[in-house]
């Protein structure tokens, strides 16, 4: 080794920006810990309370099975109706939002904004808004699921449209076909498998959302759950949670088996 060979330092000092981010993060984290008033004493009491809850919840009380089943059915109704309309509305919106199918950049920006707003506002907030608009009950839940589905499905549909290979749509364009015909004849068939997968994910997501929407009065099994919790009938609550668990897992299995067949 000659004298000129540089030595390589084992460590390098992080950049000033990295320092600022690291210190800022640490400060925010510690302030958060302090604000949450975390103490060993509270955690201990929490554990005791949790044990008492579990004690009262076991065994789950299925005596109100009819009411639970009815509410679960309503939840599935909300999810399926909402997600169906959501996916249907997503298709035209995605066509307007994708760069290769949108008529012009103004329409595209507006469509993207609509999709972004539907996605950024959480489903529970949509439900609160629609409860104000149409009153308590499943209709508010359906509307909330529609908005939530649009934010998710329209985004993935439009991304899929943009990935589609250009050749087939160019071939149809070269025959003198109109834009909509080209989209329906080449781009939609090419995106079909991916759109089916996205739609099935939307259904899974919608069932999970529909369960919680009841907590703000938008219909479904969440209404039963929040009532049971407020009346301290933890054994009822446990039964409801178990039913939800079975329904969600059951649908996830069903949807993944459909997905395997389509793709």
């Amino acid at each position: 080794m000659s004298d000129q060979t540089p030595t390589i330092p084992r460590f390098r000092s992080p950049s000033p920006v990295a320092w600022v981010i690291a210190v800022g993060f640490l400060a925010f984290f510690l302030q958060g810990l302090w604000a949450a008033d975390m103490s060993l004493d509270r955690l201990q009491r929490g554990a005791v309370n949790l044990a008492r809850f579990l004690g009262q919840a076991m065994p789950p009380d299925f005596s109100n099975w009819y009411g639970i089943a009815d509410a679960m059915w309503e939840t599935l109704n909300i999810a399926i109706v909402g997600v169906t309309f959501g996916c249907l509305f997503s298709i035209p919106l995605a066509i307007l939002a994708a760069s290769n199918t949108s008529p012009n950049s103004v329409v595209r920006s507006i469509a993207r904004l609509v999709i972004a707003v539907s996605r950024t506002i959480p489903d529970l907030i949509w439900a609160l808004i629609f409860v104000v608009a149409v009153g308590l009950g499943p209709l508010a839940g359906i509307l909330a699921i529609i908005m939530d589905t649009i934010g998710f499905a329209a985004r993935f549909y439009s991304e899929r449209f943009e990935e589609v290979q250009k050749g087939p749509s160019e071939a149809l364009t070269s025959t003198g076909a109109g834009r909509l015909s080209v989209i329906m004849g080449a781009i939609l068939p090419e995106s079909f498998a991916s759109m089916t997968a996205t739609s099935l994910f939307s259904v899974e997501k919608a069932i999970r959302s529909a369960v919680t929407l009841g907590l703000v009065g938008a219909g479904g099994i969440g209404v039963e759950l929040s009532t049971a919790m407020r009346l301290f009938r933890y054994d009822d609550a446990a039964a409801i949670i178990l039913v939800v668990l079975v329904a969600v897992i059951g649908f996830e299995q069903l949807s993944s088996s459909i997905r395997r067949r389509v793709i």
Binding site: P168, A171, T175, G176, A177, S181
Partner: protein, 266 residues
Amino acid sequence: MTPPDPVLDVRDLHVSYGDLRILRGVTFAVGRGEGVVLLGANGSGKSTLMRAINGLAPAASGQVSLDGVPIIGARRAPLRKARRRMGYVFQQFNLVPQLSAFQNVLFGVMGQRPLGILNCLNPVARGEDRERALECLDRVGLADRAQHRPTELSGGQQQRVAIARMLMQRPSMVVADEPIASLDPKAGREVLDLLWRIVDDEGLSMLCTLHQLDLAREYGDRVIGLKDGTVQIDDTVERIDPAGLDGLYDGATRPEDATESKIAAV
């Protein structure tokens, strides 16, 4: 060479991508029933020329007209009308992979039916269109594969389905952009035989890019050689000078690429 009754007339066509000037004043015409082979090195602008002729690539200036109807600068409706009369065969076949061969052929009339696709999907298409689609598949020898998807067919078969789609369109002019470049030599020759036979039988005009000089001489009536974005050779096959053809592939494709080929030469 200007044919007396041109179907396709290209005048002083310029096409640029950004600062890159691909076509620099291309002028030629294709007569009725004439078969023209377009030759040129990679990057000489062959594909761009084909795409500009169909209005798929935007032209900077110049004019292309099909049967006297202008294509460059045309509004959407007249452009679509002109495109209906031009059958386009692509190097990559460009069939819709999720749909059957039959449905892909039916799409050939998409531009000619009111409501477009709503009148050429298999369940709702007119009886005569469905019959004709099957006839077209029969012409290319694939009537028994009508229900197959493109992915279940070989490359040569896929190109034959694409030719059937072109035939379905009842064009007056066929534009084929390296129709056999993705096929092996045997399948390529079969497809080229079929394509040229159909063009002859129907009395269509043809503009076809190829990479093989021997095939160009064998199939074409006339050869156009493209270099540096301009027409360098335009003559009948009998009178073409073999040395001139080789010259198309010598040196830099575009003047500004000269340094690149110098490096390559070193």
